[in-house]
């Protein structure tokens, strides 16, 4: 199963590092990553593979959200199928 992790908020040093460290902690492999900075607004999108996930999905998602709160950014973890459903026929 793959999920999309989105990290949005005000740009600051170390966001990517914090997010990828948190993924590694849970055994989550980052397949693809893209980021853009528009003015001061930061948006990072990671496609992650959850086959090696050491905890259940909920714990991983909550962990990532908590990490986001500590870093002052909004983090969401969502199954990739919601995006595939909405944007691909």
């Amino acid at each position: 199963m793959k999920a999309v992790v989105t990290v949005t908020g005000k740009d600051k040093v170390g966001i990517i590092s914090a997010a990828s460290a948190e993924c590694a902690k849970y055994g989550v492999n980052i397949i693809d990553i893209s980021q853009s900075v528009l003015k001061e607004y930061f948006a990072m999108i990671m496609l992650v593979e959850l086959d090696g996930l050491k905890v259940d999905f909920k714990s991983f998602a909550v962990g990532m959200e908590e990490m986001g709160k500590e870093s002052g950014v909004d983090v969401r973890v969502m199954h990739e199928d919601i995006f595939n459903s909405m944007h691909r026929i």
Partner: protein
């Protein structure tokens, strides 16, 4: 990899534009619970519901977490209780309502719909007794929703039932007078009731449905309103295309959740209901969509045309996004549940007559409308007869959910709380229709019902 813009668009729809799944509703047949012993009937119904829907709330909450989309309501619809308890007295039906309430509490669902009867051509004994029990049943329970189908295009209109429902609504208002007559918010009178509607108060599990089934109702007025705003001053073809595209996306989420909920619960997937369902929250209003199309305020001239365009485009966009479409499928215009509608009524722009015209081009009917508490029962029956006629003649579902707010009059408002919202009390015509309503009998089915 997925396109960054697409991902951010989805996140924006959920976070800023109130995109959600309005309801995951499990339909449960109760025919196998029928017993001539009322105590055994009640016990079997409780067991069937609590066993079939044991994991409904848990699975829905898991889906919310996995896909990152709120699922606002988890509900149950059951076989119309008048069939299942056909031998019961009104008191027996009230006891059954309490049993359904216990099942709802045990499961943690938001509502159980199906405290219902079909009387379009006449009432079986069970339907008569159930209708008599409605005021008490709704006053003594919180989570039970009731509906009565008084007409179909095939059968015509049962005007005896229309007359009786005016009285039943008044009695329900009186018995729940301490809470702005909220019982009436859980009671809806239908023409051409659908058998697979996941929305309340009219959800029932029809007699041609499987033993259990999952139906999903989508939402998203805020998403459509935002898309129209962004489209700017385009012409009507472009406007319709904008709505179609966004409706497709909204419905695809509903389809995904419906299929996945059905898979995880091990029950068949039924339908996705393509409805735009507003809430009293800011930015979640059907009225706002119409105003973004260019109306200064919902209810002014042009409103019916704007709504007709919206309703049609939502269906066209949605129908390709889902393998099975059903239920009510259309834009809802419940006054108390839509901030824009409430404002339009308060400013005197949106009238009852305009709302009635609007129901000819959308689902569902005169919905969540507060009227003066001293309205005669015959006037309520007149409102029902008018609205039901629109459904019967136009071969569509229409319905009436009006609340004669006990002890209150025009200039005051009723507060229902939560998703039911609040409503300014609307003025009605003072001239009587009592002689018309008292005639009794049936209004014959329209000529175009004879299609065979």
């Amino acid at each position: 990899m997925l396109n960054t813009q697409d991902i951010l668009e989805t996140i924006k729809m959920i976070r800023e534009e109130n995109l959600d799944i309005r309801t995951v509703t499990m339909g449960i047949s109760l025919f196998d619970c029928i017993s001539d012993d009322p105590a055994r009937l009640e016990a079997k119904i409780y067991d069937k519901i609590t066993t079939s829907a044991k994991r409904l709330v848990e699975v829905a909450e898991d889906l919310e977490r996995t896909y990152g989309i709120p699922i606002v309501n988890k509900r149950i619809s059951v076989t119309p209780i008048s069939y299942v308890g056909a031998g019961l007295s009104p008191d027996g039906f009230v006891r059954l309502a309490h049993m359904l309430e216990r099942a709802a509490t045990t499961l943690g669902v938001n509502f159980i719909g199906g405290y219902s009867a079909h009387v379009q051509k006449g009432a079986i004994k069970g339907a008569e007794a159930l209708v008599e029990s409605i005021p008490q049943a709704l006053a003594e329970t919180e989570h039970i929703c009731s509906s009565v189908n008084v007409a179909t295009t095939k059968a015509g209109i049962n005007m005896d039932a229309v007359k009786r429902m005016g009285e039943i609504i008044k009695e329900t208002a009186y018995l729940t007078r301490e809470r702005d007559s909220i019982g009436c918010a859980k009671l809806v009178v239908f023409a051409n009731i659908p058998e697979d509607n996941p929305f309340m108060a009219g959800a029932v599990h029809g007699i041609g449905e499987p033993d259990t089934v999952i139906n999903v109702g989508v939402s998203g007025p805020g998403v459509v309103a935002a898309a129209i705003k962004e489209a700017g001053d385009c012409d009507f073809s472009a406007l319709a295309d904008t709505v179609k595209k966004i409706a497709f996306k909204i419905t695809r989420v509903g389809q995904l959740i419906a299929a996945e909920a059905a898979r995880r619960l091990g029950v068949p997937y039924g339908i996705v209901d393509l409805s735009l369902a507003p809430t009293p929250a800011a930015g979640d209003s059907v009225a706002e969509i119409l105003e973004n199309m260019g109306l200064e305020r919902c209810g002014t001239h042009g409103t019916t045309a704007a709504l007709a365009l919206l309703n049609d485009a939502v269906k066209k966009g949605g129908v390709m996004a889902s393998s099975h479409v059903g239920g009510l499928s259309g834009a809802f215009i419940p006054v108390s549940e839509d901030r824009g509608m409430i404002e339009a009524v308060e400013r005197g722009v949106l009238s009852l007559e305009k709302l009635e015209a609007m129901t000819a081009v959308c689902s569902v009917g005169l919905d969540m409308i507060a009227i003066p508490g001293d309205t005669p029962a015959s006037t309520i029956s007149g409102i029902i007869a008018d609205e039901i006629s629109i459904g019967v003649v136009n071969t569509k579902t229409t319905a009436v959910r009006v609340i004669p707010v006990w002890g209150k009059d025009v200039g005051e408002s009723a507060e229902f709380g939560g998703l039911l919202g609040y409503a300014p009390i609307m003025p009605l015509r003072q001239d009587s229709c009592e002689r018309f309503i008292s005639r009794g009998g049936r209004i014959p089915a329209p000529i175009h019902s004879l299609k065979n």
